[in-house]
Amino acid sequence: MAMNLEKIRDELNQAVPGAVVDRDGNWLVLDAARLQETAVHLRDGMGYDFLTHLSAADYPDRFEVVYNLYSTRPDLQGPGIPFKVRIPDKADPHLPSLTSVWKSANWQEREVWDMFGIRFDGHPNLKRILLWEGFDGHPLRKDWHEPYYEEEHKPYSSRWPNPPNPRPRSAEERVRWRANLRYPPDFDPANWEPLPEVDFVPGDKIQVNGLETDRILLNVGPQHPSTHGVFRMILGLQGETVTSLYPVLGHLHRNHEKIGERNLWTGNVPYTDRLDYICPMYNNFGYVVAVERMMGQEVPERAEYLRIIMGELTRVINHLLCIGFQFNELGAMFTPMLYAFAEREHVLDLFEEASGARMMVNYYRIGGVARDVSDEWLKRCRKVVDRLERKIDEFDTLLTDNEIFISRARGVGAMSWQEMVNYGVSGPLLRSAGLQYDIRKVEPYSIYDTFDFEVPTHQTGDIYDRYLQRLAEARESIKILKQALDRIPARGAIQAGKKPWNPKVPAGELYSRVEHPKGEYGFYLVSDGGTNPYRYHIRSSCFINLGALEAMSVGHLLADAIVILGSIDITLGEVDR
């Protein structure tokens, strides 16, 4: 890795003189003035075309914007190029935008602007994305504090009340209604008008099939049953055809990352459950893998097997559920979805016994898992896996040949994998368009490299292929589950060494990614050597996949736009964080 980085540094400096100014651990530090030029060379000249992660960190003397670039070329898949740009000017931080090189930078740069106030010159639409315009300040800056701010880090000392007034205050008392509201100085809420973000002229007459009609603007959501949570789209319509689509996010935003910076390293595990609440096990997985990589922590074998079993069970139910929801949107109201939910019950029963909770599992620990499972549990798990295998076949019979489904789904929402890569789309979506790219294979974590499984792909990336892709991947997960259940050591430790409640993580920073059921799931962590993360960022697969929604939907019918949204498979808990 280190050798490789030196080579890349030399090559970059040759192509773009002065591109790399420094090296910081495993990260290359690029010159901001030559950033766009360098990015183009990285993409076109060197084959690193997949910008998956873009984020920032606030240090006392500078901002740093970090990028993680990977390649989809078969010979270069695997470890990518992490690079960063330093911005010493804290008063007016700005940087050239990479949106013209990678469309995946679009939303992520908007998020950085939203959270850190770093401007990206040349960005086509640099507006807040998770917060609204009436929000005061940029919350992930270290000097920003919420109105009910207690202390920089947990644990809070107010948890030891003093004898004169020993009654602690409830959450209600601490956060008085309206006391947590603050506007920016130049913002007047009474005169604020949220303008539609799509090009729309009232009274704009157009001809559709010989009829004169208005172009219309349609608001979908945020509380529409088929928007997968609180998600809002502003659609520009010409007749029934979508001409523009503007997603409005952030209704579930809770500043997860700021909370994460306050928490102990261990305390973040239950918080990750709440991200993608369909797959809490895999959220835990991604987080503990990232922290273990930072600490160089080993994990006992039995714990690794348990992690894989829980993770792949999650993947199966996520894919079945996604298919179920998909059919809700297609109008097959609730029958496939409830069949999927019935299967999920069995898996949740297993989770309940193993972890103590059905959804908010809090099961993975740094260096192991929380509880061991009994032999009886493993036997039951085997039965559930056999059942799931049968049920996947049943879904296949129920839906795959359905003519109505085929006529609704074929060719709808299709996108080439090259374009998807440009948008940063990952996971089943990307593979359904034909690119064989699975992090479990290209950059194996845990013990995935010891399992025998395929990475299925399909060709067109339309809704039908996405459906087939999810079924195929669920089948592969069953294969992994069977191998894991056969090979799991009968006895053994489930936790490496002692499990401290406040582990210290050595100073450093890293970006670590796993193959979440929904796509690439990354954690960007910075530690200053203490018991709390200095920076904690989640590269959410749903959020970035959603960035391609407009390009997938434009030109399709209104009813199809809803189905395309469903086929992206988002969970708003993770999109909004």
């Binding site: 947990k154 644990p155 809070y156 107010s158 948890r159 030891w160 009340p161 004898p163 020993p166 009654r167 602690p168 409830s170 959450a171 209600e172 928490n263 102990l264 261990t266 305390g267 973040n268 595990v269 239950p270 918080y271 459950d273 709440r274 029958t335 409830l338 069949y339 939910f341 019935a342 019950e345 069995h346 029963d349 309940e352 016994e353 193993a354 972890s355 103590g356 909770a357 908010m360 809090n362 929380a370 509880r371 039951r380 039965k383 559930v384 059942r387 049943e394 019979t397 129920l398 839906l399 795959t400 040949d401 359905n402 003519e403 109505i404 085929i406 499990k499 409640w501 406040n502």
Partner: protein, 198 residues
């Protein structure tokens, strides 16, 4: 043939429909009886997946956790808790408050004078029980706690939190026995060491 795929799918739904009435049907047994549902909802089962809540309730796993509770062995005024504060420190949403008791001279003693949990912000993660070195805080399973007044009813103090060890033993028999076995083993080892030094 066009329409065959549709018919195939409808065949599946038809089978589900019939199974929800007739799967493993015993003529003398009423529909929705607990035995009938248990067979339907077993891993090998087919048919109906719903229960008639609140008349019927799911059998929950003994490992299920919901809100924390404090354990006492003999009397409620002598809880196992030593007010060491690890639970309050490890609690992710910081919903635990502890006040340490003092003796007559004002020196702190290993006993809580007050213990509060704000259950409105408790996230049911179970970290307090997991990291408690004295097995003093465990997870309760009472989860039907809806109330019209959250300030009054959802802010738990010691009186609400304390439960006898027998209650815990009934709720989590597996965990309780494992802990007792471990304690006995430790006790035996200590006795042995004592015997050897003597």
């Amino acid at each position: 043939m066009f329409g065959l795929g549709l018919l195939k799918g409808l065949g599946v739904t038809m089978r589900h429909f019939i199974e929800s009435y007739l799967y493993d049907r015993k003529p003398w047994e009423p529909r929705y009886s607990p035995e009938w549902l248990a067979r339907h909802q077993a891993i090998e089962g087919k048919g109906l997946f719903t229960i008639q809540y609140p008349e019927q309730r799911r059998q929950v796993s003994e490992n299920l956790r919901f809100l924390p509770m404090l354990i006492y062995d003999e009397t409620p005024d002598r809880p196992r808790c030593t007010a060491c504060g690890i639970c309050a420190r490890v609690c992710p949403p910081q919903c635990i408050w502890i006040q340490r008791a003092t003796d007559d001279k004002g020196r702190p003693v290993a006993r809580p004078a007050g213990f509060w949990i704000d259950t409105t912000i408790c996230m049911n993660c179970g970290s307090c029980a997991e990291y408690c070195p004295f097995d003093a805080i465990k997870m309760n399973q009472v989860h039907e706690i809806a109330t019209p007044d959250r300030d009054r009813d959802l802010f738990y103090d010691m009186k609400k939190l304390l439960v006898p060890a027998e209650y815990y033993a009934r709720l989590h028999p597996g965990d309780y026995q494992a802990e007792e076995a471990e304690r006995r083993a430790k006790e035996a080892a200590r006795q042995q060491v004592k015997g050897a030094t003597r």
